[in-house]
């Protein structure tokens, strides 16, 4: 494993992960020694801001969510390309601008199509 090394910048992240996970686990673990455990029906009902739940939580979601998620992924990926592009944009100038414009234009056509076809419309 000689090829592996951990850059210093990541030590903070590592610490953050360890502390974050540790805090949650340890407080729950310690808490179980002190807290009372008297479950009854109302306590076991899913918590919905104090209102009694009206429906099964496990209902079928609308396929609309899926479309939104797909749109999100597409533009999530685009954002990543945009980020690396933005860092070198000033060096390549017009050339980079045109390239990115083509990239976005292609996606926009797809987006425009989805929009017009009602993919973003919640109710028809």
């Amino acid at each position: 494993m000689s090829g592996l090394y951990l850059p210093k910048e990541y030590l903070a992240i590592l610490l953050f992960i360890v502390l974050g996970v540790g805090f949650g686990v340890v407080t729950l673990w310690i808490g179980q020694f002190f807290r009372m455990k008297r479950p009854y029906f109302e306590k076991l009902v899913a918590y919905e801001s104090g209102n009694p739940p009206t429906d099964e939580p496990r209902m079928r979601f609308s396929v609309k969510f899926y479309l939104i998620a797909i749109l999100f992924i597409v533009f999530d990926v685009e954002a990543i390309y945009l980020y690396s592009w933005a860092l070198v944009y000033d060096k390549l100038g017009m050339f980079a601008l045109v390239e990115m414009f083509i990239f976005i234009a292609l996606l926009l056509v797809g987006y425009f199509y989805g929009w017009k076809k009602g993919a973003l419309q919640w109710e028809k």
């Binding site: 070198v88 060096k91 390549l92 056509v109 797809g110 425009f112 199509y113 017009k116 076809k117």
Partner: protein
């Protein structure tokens, strides 16, 4: 650090750009145009323009390359023409088939054009990354197209099966790319070849070998070679017939396009793959043919027979010579006409919910629709490889290349398989000409609509005429030689 702006040779991109632009135009028009058939005709115009551009580029002496990623040499241009023919014939079928099935919509044409652009990318790619991107564009569009008939469960099943197994195959392909890169330090086909010639001691580097094996698995899936063919019958059978026609030829041609370039350019110096391809060819031909014998449904029978055809084409890959490349190109072009022609006949006869593609529906077709039966006879004879049809020449050139390349035994296996295939192809002919028709009430033919009739007529005419006089196609495919 100064950054050099690369020189760009857009000439290499013209066919692909033409197709993508047409696809985008169709997509935008779809929002505003009510009559979706117009979009089909717009697509046909775009395809025609692409074909003209390809012919124009074919006359150039220097092949334009785009940053070692894409090249538009004779090989890729001839392949582009094959893809254009495939897309054109499929769109013509769709123009009749979709309204008859109540599926007419603009996305269909846009997705089909995008799939075509993916195929063209695979044919023109000289870098494995571009091959992969082309493969994915083609595949994603085809997954959706296979599931296009949403009122029919079989179509959804086809789309899902194709997607799950296709994604799996893509993963193998990508792993192969990664290992090849790990071994040779490049994804560029030419650079990989240079690495092998610079390091002859590493010619049998196990990483490169496993990388190649994984790449072959990915390709074998796309061209439906045994033992990676399991998805084929269900997908071809369940998908709308106009889609089946398109992907049975287009996806296969695209798979072969990239496979041949990869093997001949990058791994030309390492002949070990010849054995693998040889056995793949034998398994594919024999397996496809034997199972096709048992089929009672013509659409399914053509699905299995398309596996067998992949086997014949693999025979042409084995020698790895310019003759082999020429044979493959000739075979693919002829296959585009005869196979799509046969699917067009099925699309015409097929009734709702896949009834009417059973072999019984063809009983006595000659007395009811003599011209249609004659065309089907052309396609069946041609697919068998009986002269004077174009399919004969395709097989002739592929097998001849194998004999010249020192693989005569493969040619013999191929010929035996052609004889086996005659049983099921000719049984359709027997049904059409020698049986009396079933009750007319059972089969009500949809009125012949013009585009599909034209497709059948065109494909039939080409199948016969180029069979009688194959010189133009020989000259064309000779332009695509490399290796």
């Amino acid at each position: 650090m100064p950054i050099i702006i690369p020189t760009l040779d857009f000439a290499a991109l013209i066919p692909i750009l033409a197709i993508i632009t047409t696809g985008l135009v169709v997509l935008l028009l779809d929002i505003y145009v009510e009559d979706k058939a117009v979009l089909g005709y717009v697509s046909l115009i775009g395809l025609l323009a692409t074909a003209i551009a390809c012919f124009g580029l074919l006359t150039q002496t220097v092949a334009p390359t785009f940053q070692n990623m894409l090249v538009s040499d004779g090989y890729s241009l001839v392949l582009d023409l094959i893809f254009v023919v495939t897309a054109t014939l499929s769109i013509m079928i769709a123009l009749s088939y979709l309204p008859a099935r109540d599926m007419q919509s603009g996305e269909y044409y846009a997705l089909l054009l995008f799939a075509t652009s993916g195929m063209m990318l695979m044919g023109a790619a000289t870098d494995l990354i571009v091959v992969f991107l082309g493969l994915e564009i083609m595949s994603i569009a085809l997954y959706v197209l296979a599931a296009f008939n949403r009122r029919q469960l079989g179509s959804g099943e086809a789309g899902l099966k194709y997607f799950v197994l296709g994604a799996f195959a893509s993963a193998f392909f990508l792993y192969g790319v990664a290992l090849t890169y790990g071994a040779t330090g490049s994804t560029n086909l030419q650079t990989i070849a240079m690495w092998f010639s610079a390091n002859p001691a590493y010619a049998h580097n196990p990483i490169a070998m496993v990388g190649l094996a994984l790449l072959l698995i990915g390709f074998a899936f796309k061209i439906a070679a045994v033992p990676f063919q399991w998805w084929t019958p269900d997908v071809y059978h369940g998908a709308p017939t106009s889609v089946t026609a398109f992907m049975s030829v287009g996806a296969k041609a695209a798979g072969f396009a990239a496979l041949v370039r990869l093997l001949l350019v990058s791994f030309g110096a390492i002949p070990d793959w010849r054995w693998v391809i040889s056995w793949l060819a034998v398994l594919t031909m024999t397996g496809g043919n034997i199972v096709a014998l048992a089929q009672k449904d013509v659409k399914r029978m053509l699905a299995y027979s398309s596996i067998a055809h992949a086997g014949y084409i693999l025979v042409g890959v084995v020698p790895g010579t310019p003759d082999g490349v020429k044979g493959i190109l000739f075979y693919l072009m002829s296959y585009a006409f005869m196979n799509i022609g046969a699917f067009a006949v099925i699309a015409l006869l097929e009734q709702r919910d896949q009834i009417g593609s059973s072999i019984e529906s063809y009983m006595g077709l000659s007395s009811r629709k003599p011209l249609l039966a004659l065309m089907m006879l052309f396609f069946m004879f041609s697919l068998t490889g009986i002269p004077p049809f174009i399919g004969f020449w395709g097989k002739w050139y592929v097998f001849w290349a194998a004999v010249k390349g020192g693989a005569s035994w493969l040619a013999i296996v191929g010929m035996i398989n052609s004889v086996i295939s005659a049983f099921y192809y000719l049984s359709v002919v027997v049904q059409m000409y020698m049986r009396s028709p079933t009750e007319p009430s059972e089969l009500e033919f949809a009125p012949l609509s013009l585009p599909v009739t034209l497709t059948i007529a065109l494909a039939g005419a080409v199948t016969l005429l180029l069979g009688l006089w194959p010189t133009p196609l020989i000259k064309l495919t000779a332009l695509g030689i490399f290796g």
